[in-house]
């Protein structure tokens, strides 16, 4: 179970910013699930420079997702 957050261009692409209660055991499984729903979003989530934050910390590669986890997909940051 994860809360998923999208930022910047990813939010515009998906048409949503936040979804709660998504069932996925890992980051990889979560990406696969989202890609099945929306192939363009799936491709973008694995696109260049997109980082993943699990409970507000950047993680690399696949990672298990605990209960009530927050997973954020962060496209390249623009600075302020």
């Amino acid at each position: 179970m994860a809360r998923v957050l999208l930022f910047g261009p990813l939010r515009d692409l998906a048409g949503w910013r936040e979804r709660d209660g998504i069932e996925a055991a890992s980051i990889g499984a979560l990406k696969a699930l989202l890609a099945k729903e929306d192939a363009r979003l799936g491709a973008a989530l694995s696109g260049p420079g997109v980082q993943v934050a699990l409970d507000q910390a950047i993680v690399r590669g696949d990672q298990p997702i605990g209960p009530r986890a927050e997973v954020a997909f962060l496209p390249p940051m623009s600075g302020g």
Binding site: L5, G8, P75, G80
Partner: protein, 151 residues
């Protein structure tokens, strides 16, 4: 103190607050970034942050600034949400005993904020909207600090 805010702010009011009562400090440097109208090309700038994550990331850089430069204090205020031309986007103030430390820390913090801080920025104008990436100049500016040995 690091604050993200959706409310417009007056950089002067922040400087008044920051410089008040500092009888042992000597030097206060500030930088204010203002939203540009781009001669009518941009009407509104929209800044998105990741609440909590963005403050924490800026906090780490503030700690690095405190470690690199002999600072007494620093303040960072950053707008998020929709920003009109002429409004302040970012305000950074640094206080130090010596002028050079205050200037360099302010410069360092701004280079980070403009190129690597976790914000996503969209310009809304008469021709629609588009997401903005850091300029090549911002990447060069931040690279200056990697080359230097810590002070």
């Amino acid at each position: 103190m690091i604050t993200l805010t959706e409310e417009p702010f007056d950089p002067g009011a922040l400087l008044s607050e920051f410089s008040k009562g500092r009888s042992e400090v000597g030097a206060v440097a500030t930088f204010t970034g203002l939203a540009r109208a781009e001669a009518g090309g941009t009407t509104i700038l929209e800044l998105e942050a990741y609440p909590g994550f963005t403050e924490a990331a800026i906090g780490q850089i503030a700690d690095e600034a405190r470690a690199r430069f002999e600072l007494d204090d620093l303040m960072i205020r950053h707008r998020i949400g929709k920003i009109a031309p002429g409004e302040a986007i970012v305000f950074v103030a640094t206080a130090a005993r010596h002028r050079r430390a205050a200037f360099e820390a302010c410069d360092f913090l701004m280079d980070y904020l403009k190129s690597r801080a976790p914000f996503w920025k969209k310009a809304h104008g008469p021709d629609g909207e588009h997401w903005i990436e850091p300029r090549a100049e911002d990447h060069r500016d931040i690279a200056r600090w990697d080359e230097e040995t810590p002070q």
